[in-house]
Every structure is written in structure tokens, then in C-alpha cells.
Symmetry: C2
Subunit: 224 residues, 2 copies
């Protein structure tokens, strides 16, 4: 189906996907920051993405872009490769969490579809990757998930830790020290309305864990 897009095209599309997955448009400046290029370069590129046939983005001057369905297909394919690679590097090649990102981000464009499917098979056709991130299926459907931000849970509610915003490895390591990693059950014991701190009971930990709003806002849980 889809033509063979360049690695650069794919990086733009993946970035736009991640910026718009929760609704809204991806703005020039945001894309520029993520891809570490100048806004002028982004304007140039998104105009080219918009004038591909079929168009890959819907571009409104001065108001950023959204993906067309063609653009989304490409983005999901790259994202599938990316998340399969993350898992593969960690599980099969023994990469540590923090080394995974850079390598997967380079390899995601270099591997063939066939490579992707071979890796998927070796890994047992996973639907969740590192940090619990969802992996699009081979036919590019996102696995359904009933996620809620930990920040929004209140005493008495509980869930399974799922993933963290932006997949920040530094934050990930910090949370690991409190036993907080994907798959772990947690329940909210208390909430302080003044500082928005949450007091948590974390599976496998004796002491309760207290996290500030700037941290809980970054954590997604699958509500029970």
C-alpha cells in the first residue's frame, strides 16, 4: 500500500502521532523541540507532508497539524517497530532501560516489516512494551486500555501501574526505588488537598509512599 517514506518523514509522523494522540493539534514549536530541529525546518517539512499524495497531515497555517488516516497508518507502523524493538533490545539483547531508547529510535526506520514480524514472533506477539506502553497490532490497531491518571485517583480507589508520561527513564528509575513499576498494584490511602500529595499503598512495599502532584500527574494506571 503505502509508498516508502523516508526515515525523516517517519520521525515527523511518529512525533505528531504522540503529540496528538490525546486530541488537539501538534504545533510547529512542539515538533521542533521533540525532533531537535528549528521551527523553520518543521514548517518546511509539514508543508511537504501535507502536499504528498495522499496527504499525510492536515496543515493549517499558524495552527499546526493533525494526521490524516494515511499519516496515522505510517505513524502506527513506526510506533509498532519502535516498541517491539524496545522490548527486543531489553529482553533478548539485555539492554538496560536507559540504553533502549536511542537504539530503538534509530532502528525503527532501518528494519523491514519482515524483521518486525520475526521479532514479534520471538517475543510472543506482545501487546504491551516497556513501561507498559501499548504496541499497535500487526494490522495497526491500538490495544484497548482503560487508563486514568494517578493524579485523579482518590482514597479508596486502586489500580495497576501502567506507564509513565513521555517514557522518561530518569523518572522511571526514581519510581523503581519505591517499588513502582508497570504491573504493580497500588491503592490510594490518603489525599492532601493543600499540596495535592497522594499517599499510596504499593504492592510489595511495607512503608506507604507519598508522591507530589508533579509526579502523580505523569503516571498512568489501569483502574480496577
Amino acid at each position: 500500500m503505502s509508498a516508502a517514506y523516508s526515515g525523516t518523514h517517519k520521525d515527523y509522523l511518529k512525533t505528531i502521532y504522540l503529540l496528538t494522540v490525546d486530541g488537539g493539534r501538534a504545533e510547529t514549536g512542539q515538533i521542533a523541540e521533540k525532533l531537535r530541529v528549528t521551527p523553520a525546518s518543521v514548517t518546511d517539512m509539514i508543508q511537504r507532508l501535507a502536499s504528498e499524495s495522499p496527504p499525510l497531515v492536515d496543515y493549517q497555517k499558524y495552527h499546526g497539524v493533525t494526521l490524516t488516516s494515511e499519516g496515522e497508518q505510517v505513524a502506527l507502523q513506526v510506533l509498532r517497530h519502535y516498541r517491539l524493538l524496545e522490548l527486543f533490545l531489553h529482553e533478548i539483547l539485555g539492554y538496560s532501560w536507559d540504553k533502549v531508547h536511542t537504539e530503538a529510535n534509530r532502528l525503527e526506520h532501518a528494519i523491514s516489516e519482515y524483521f518486525g514480524e520475526r521479532v514479534a514472533e520471538v517475543l510472543g506477539e506482545p501487546t504491551r512494551g516497556l513501561y507498559g506502553s501499548p504496541i499497535p497490532s500487526k494490522d495497526l490497531e491500538m490495544p484497548h486500555q482503560n487508563l486514568v491518571c494517578l493524579h485523579d485517583l482518590r482514597p479508596g480507589e486502586s489500580g495497576i501501574m501502567h506507564s509513565i508520561w513521555d517514557e522518561d527513564p530518569g523518572l522511571f528509575r526514581y519510581l523503581e526505588k519505591y517499588g513502582l513499576k508497570p504491573g504493580v498494584k497500588l491503592s490510594v490511602l490518603d489525599y492532601s488537598p493543600y499540596d495535592h500529595n497522594l499517599h499510596l499503598q504499593v504492592e510489595g512495599q511495607e512503608k506507604e509512599v507519598v508522591l507530589g502532584a508533579s509526579v502523580t500527574a505523569q503516571i498512568f494506571v489501569e483502574k480496577e
Copy 2:
């Protein structure tokens, strides 16, 4: 040490290495054919390789190039990646022989040094790849080998099949039908001076195998 050379640079250097490993110079037209670009493009590129600092090739106008030792280091690094990947794709991901080449040729530039070493470890630090091709060590030494062309063996002489010229998968499959694959012992029973045919005893085969000069010239054996 070495700067970060582009994938294109590396493809040229690997190609030049393979064209000069048996001595002599790599000519513009040969490189152009292997890389499927025009001779004019090759001239342009080898002039740039020659004016890198340090220079990667020794260029003599109208008489092709040889690698400098810096160029050879880069070539060996790429070749190591390439041959590790070939083996990896076949052994770990279950690629068939003929699918391996294209993927490895793309991935050889995309993987990091770290990835290469992780793969090497998973494979058990191999020194020979598919078709018995030698894999440069981590510090870029080629494994010693006392190879001779099957074409030059005469009755009474014998050896272990090692590899085939140019790693042609079609020829490889043809030879497999006669039990001829890397690691198999063979001895020369007879030689016809008129057609240069060789009559071979191949380990594991009852009937003798007769091969023409155009085939025996492509086969390397480790002499006993």
C-alpha cells in the same frame, strides 16, 4: 577514535575492502557496479574519501583506490557488523539464507557498536559467519585462514569447504544439492585437463560430484 562516517561512506569502504582483499586496486567501474550507482558518482565519492582527514582511501586518478589503514578499520568494523547480523538474522530470527543479505546490508550501518557486541555475545562470539565467511574480531583482526581456490586443487588433494565467492545465494543453493556446504570435507578424485572439470568425493555423498571450472573457481576450501 574514528569519526562518525555516513552509511554511504561505509558502503563504499566495505565494497572497496572486498574488491581489494586479494590485492590490487578497486576500480571506479567495479565499485559503481557493486553499489549500483554511476561511475561519475563513484569518482565524486572516492575523491571525497581521499580528502577526508585522515584520508580513507589512496586515490590515483584513472587507476582506482586502495584503502588507507584508517579506511580499512572502518571497513572491517562494518564487515563485522554485517557478518554478525547475517548470522543473527538466520540463527535468532529464523531468516532464510536468501533474505539475510538485504536486511543485513541495511542494518549494518544502523546498529551501534554496543548492539554489535551484544549480538556477538548472544551468538557466542563467533569467528565465522554464514557460508563460513570470516568475521573480524572486536579489535578488527581478521581470523587467520589458509584458503585456496577449489579450482587449483588436483587429484589426491583434499580440504574443508569454506565459502563461496561473492556469497551468491543462488549458487549456494545449487551446491547444497550436492552436499556441498561450509564445513564439509571433500577430496579431488580426478581432473580433466580438457574441460577443467573436477571429480570430487564429498563427505556424506555416495556418488562422486563433477563440477565445471566456472563453479570450482568460485569455491574456497581450507586445505588439509
